[in-house]
Symmetry: C2
Subunit: 635 residues, 2 copies
């Protein structure tokens, strides 16, 4: 295992990447961003003829000698004085321009001047900018948009530039299938998984200025992989990338193959995600073995392939946009490994808060749902909540200013709220963290969120949230708004094959239950119901099996992992499960009073009161938005 | 006249730009950088089937209960234990994966385990990332490369996105001609000027994410311009840009036309270059009148059109890369106008030095030759030499670290040196400032350059540079290297129509001379020769006409502005003029001794000694590189 720095050093020392040799001739139209492969010399002077540098009249300076304020002089329009515009070519025999503002126009044929012109006054003379044969751009110049002007004026209508680096991408894995092979109605065959990494990596390569070719998916066989790698190398691309097959498993042929047919330089890097990265060469072509997990693939590409591709174009990679953040909570990390933690970002008060997302490198939404990435160095065991660090921005920085952080219990209406606020405001967005109702209140207390989403039942009073707020948010004045009321109940399989009638049946031996995690409102509610009905939890099969969202409970029921779980009706409806209502509960938004006047928060509350939001909420099923947006308590 | 800030405010208040309404359906391939026009919901769960999260064997957890270190258990390979790779779909009835590292393989059919698995261990369960119907992206989300993974896995193979902003560009000007209309051999007709701005602006627009259409060039007639503007507006683009015709001259129809057929909101902005910018609307389409000078066009576009185009895509414009610099000399500026000064940048010692380039907005090389732009605010009368400010970077920051600043007399071999050093080193570049030999020595003294290029003849001793260095660089130890020896002489018209024999003929009445500026080595040499020959300068016609480079002197002779000028033979040869040798002079590189060991400087000296450099120098004519790179004095 190498550190990322060591791996890059090995890579750069071995290949010494610089502007690539291949040359192509292109039109100046397409030249922006390309690199000259030879010096470019001017074929025209600029200007090529004497040009007016002012709007006015072109004159021969000699004709104007003697004109003064006291003894103005008259010139014949059209012959002695020729009207001319900035940038136009000077007429024959004229060598000066008198500005329009200084003229006294007597009539159509006569113009009066009150001072004499000197030769070449207000004239851009031939070659003032550059002259024929002059060097316009040296070799290896990166052409910028505005350089096109110099190229055109200098007569370089076609020019020789270095070819773009060519990247060949080879996805491997017997289980993979291209989405283009699917037809409607969409249905993946058993055992098939959609291939998506090659699209992401080829887009990233193009965004680095390279050309990319994606090869057919190669199944996991030693011969197939060897053949695909050799075939790719035979086309002499500048970089070969293989995806997946890069960990140490039974079917990992990548490292082995590279060792056999090429040179294995790096096998494993101390960065996560991205650890199983391979760097090597086949027939002297640089080779990158990129891990198959989508987040690992992204990190590994950016860490190793990206700087390499820029160097192949004579450039350093553009700097990433960074922002100072504080961690919303402790983030432990392994010693000896640099960890890239995806985070949600939002501005709470003066701070930019970074909320770590789940780390699983297989979860593509931990990247597409992130606003930033923070790095915990390999020498650190993690960072403490409240500690400062830097995050790489994955969104516009304006998006963070406009992000409302809602932490707490997950509810499907938050997705609708998020969409409606995007639709109806200028750039306000919601980032929500799913830590259960109690976790949300604690986040508010720490100043790590704008809003907590909570449905905690006080089992003594039957009232929602109030007593919990009093206990956990002592000293923090809050406004409590209703978001929705919703049906909680039992999610069961379609047609109720086990004949479940209610909570009382959950103790049956033939029934497997799936539970929610402690601290979630649903768990509190379920435990309350068990207590009310005097049922001992230990008698329930699967009470210790915990899921973190309503939808995951419904999925467990749908695929038969469990027969029944507690959750909201909307989740059951979304997955076509049946539902037995148990109770109508209250889901609230808890907002520190100091934030309530913030226009972003006001916009959010307005949305919860809107017809659009309410109608979409009703369509989900099991929701009652009658009180949505009602302020029902200030604590 | 509005300030840039006022102009932007007027623009944004009038149009309130936000993501544009037009929608198109595209394939996920092409989605990076586009903006969703509707929320995108998942059509698949992710994972869609249970997947292995480790390489190893898939088992049914129940089959493994009871296995311990002391009582290992054997499983039948292929039935009880199925080999599986990370990311592959779990076989039917299997619900856990045991890592390969924990297995003891007895034979082909038998695998031994020494601990039991629990259900769903090392398995990514259905919906762990997201479930069917879940919101993947809200409306108005800017899709990033890695979002393609989420889209594909979620089944969004096609998606609806907002159309790109459409920009119509209308170049105006009767003198303009497209380069595509020229044929070889290249020759511009009298009165024609190459149109280049539309290529630059359409490239800039595309780099902002817009689509651009360039219309035919419109001649300067009131009717033609009105018609072209109305036709453009009828296609309902998102932005119309006209180029040139935006100052206040006789043929300036743009502002007048906009006033007649639309709304004129801004006419003139207090920024230079870019002052004659127009902002308005035609049939509610935002209109920008961009000045015709290439640098003005670039600044005006970046200042007003660029932020507008980004807003039409729901984004703020990306931040420019800035760098702290010190001005190499006083830079005066007009009160009331914000000035954008193009500069060369180089690192001298600890400082990044900014050398202002000529300000002429018509000179396209003041932009394409620049490494940065500094802004002098409208409330300032300029900045002092040595004062700190910020520069917008136009090149890679690595390019500045590797820039050698050569200030002083201009010589054509510096262009060859610049090209050869680009060709033979990894990214070292030369920026040269042309201020005459004496100016170069003064720049060295101020710490504003690495090298001074000098050919100052001591008219008492006949030796070059030494006495000037002793006088102007007192206390600064320097190494003096020879760059070239070169023929100085009289540049005359082809065939010598005036029959000039030498300097003694310059006093003739029928001969017009063109001179170089005081402080240039050529001027010193010329004055020395006059003194030697006892010729009174006032007897020379044109002695007071000054040019700043050899090539400009040659151009003046070529186009008949003068009959003769003093300069180097290579300039005469380049423009096919004749040449009368007067003297062989010495052109030196003066380098502070503290810089001499710098590897960049060493590389430069090596180049001056190389065969490649010397041969190219000889080809110019009039140069003798025999002593190039010789260290001939340490002072």
């Amino acid at each position: 295992m190498k550190t990322p720095h060591e791996a890059l050093e090995i890579l750069f020392n071995r290949f010494e990447p610089g502007p690539i040799e291949g040359v192509e001739e292109i039109s100046v139209h397409e030249a922006s961003g390309r690199i000259t492969s030879e010096p470019i010399f001017a074929r025209f002077s600029s200007p090529d003829q004497h040009l007016a540098a002012m709007d006015g009249i072109a004159v021969s300076a000699e004709d104007t000698y003697g004109a003064t304020e006291r003894r103005p002089m008259r010139l014949k329009s059209g012959s002695e004085a020729v009207w001319i515009n900035t940038g136009q070519v000077m007429p024959d025999k004229k060598n000066a321009v008198i500005m329009a503002e200084k003229l006294n126009i007597i009539d159509e044929d006569t113009i009066e001047i009150s001072s004499s012109a000197f030769p070449w006054q207000n004239v851009r003379k031939v070659g003032e900018d550059f002259v024929v044969t002059e060097l316009l751009f040296p070799r290896n110049h990166i052409i910028r948009s505005f350089d096109l002007g110099t190229l055109i004026v200098g007569g370089a209508f076609k020019l020789k530039v270095r070819k773009r680096p060519k990247v060949v991408i080879i996805p491997t894995g017997s289980e993979l299938v291209r989405f283009s092979k699917l037809s409607e109605p969409l249905n993946l065959k058993e055992g098939h998984v959609l291939e998506s990494n090659s699209f992401v990596l080829s887009t990233l390569a193009r965004e680095c200025g390279a050309e990319s070719v994606v090869e057919d998916i190669v199944p996991d066989t030693s011969e197939g992989i060897r053949e695909a790698f050799l075939k790719a190398a035979d086309c002499s691309p500048d970089v070969i990338i293989s995806i997946a097959g890069s960990s140490a498993g039974q079917k990992d042929y990548t490292a082995q193959t590279i060792e056999e047919i090429g040179e294995l330089m790096v096998h494993g890097v101390t960065i996560m995600p991205g650890k199983p990265t391979i760097i090597g060469s086949i027939k002297d072509v640089p080779f990158f073995g990129i891990p198959g997990y989508p987040v690992s693939a992204y990190i590994s590409f950016n860490e190793f392939v990206r700087p390499f591709l820029y160097r192949l174009q004579g450039m350093d990679e553009p700097k990433k946009q960074m922002v100072n953040v504080v961690a919303s909570r402790d983030i432990p990390s392994k010693l000896g490994i640099e960890e890239c933690i995806r985070v949600n970002l939002g501005r709470v008060g003066e701070k930019t808060v970074a909320i770590p997302l789940p780390r699983g490198a297989g979860s593509v939404t931990t990247l597409s749902g992130a606003e930033g990435i923070i790095r915990i160095p390999s020498v650190s065991e993690g960072m403490a909540g409240g500690e400062e660090t830097q995050a790489e921005l994955l969104v516009n920085s304006r998006d963070i200013d406009n992000t409302i952080l809602i932490i707490g219990s997950h509810d499907m209406t938050l997705d609708i709220l998020s969409d409606e606020i995007k639709k109806n405001t200028d750039g306000i967005r919601i980032a929500s963290g799913n830590v259960g109702s109690l976790g949300g209140l604690i986040a508010l207390k720490k100043g790590a969120a704008h809003i907590a989403g909570s449905h905690l039942l006080d089992t003594r009073t039957g009232e929602y949230n109030t007593s919990y707020i009093a206990k956990y948010l002592k000293g923090l004045p809050v406004h409590v708004f209703n978001l929705v009321e919703r049906e909680q109940g039992l999610i069961i399989q379609k047609g109720n094959p086990k004949g479940i009638r209610g909570i009382e049946d959950l103790t049956r031996d033939d029934i497997a239950f799936v539970n929610r995690q402690p601290g979630s409102g649903t768990r509190v509610l379920f435990d309350y119901k068990l207590h009310e009905m005097d049922i001992d939890p230990s008698r329930i099969n699967g009470y210790e099996n915990e899921e973190y969202t309503h939808m995951n409970v419904a999925v467990a029921v749908l695929n038969g992992t469990a027969d029944v779980g507690m959750g909201i009706m909307a989740a059951a409806k979304a997955l076509n499960c049946d539902f037995i209502p148990v109770v109508k509960e209250q889901y609230d938004l808890v907002i520190p009073s100091s934030f309530v006047d913030d226009p972003r928060i006001q916009a959010l509350i307005d949305i919860t009161r809107s017809k659009g939001f309410r109608e979409r909420v009703k369509e989900l099923g099991g929701y009652d938005p009658a009180k949505s947006g009602d302020l029902w308590k200030i604590i």
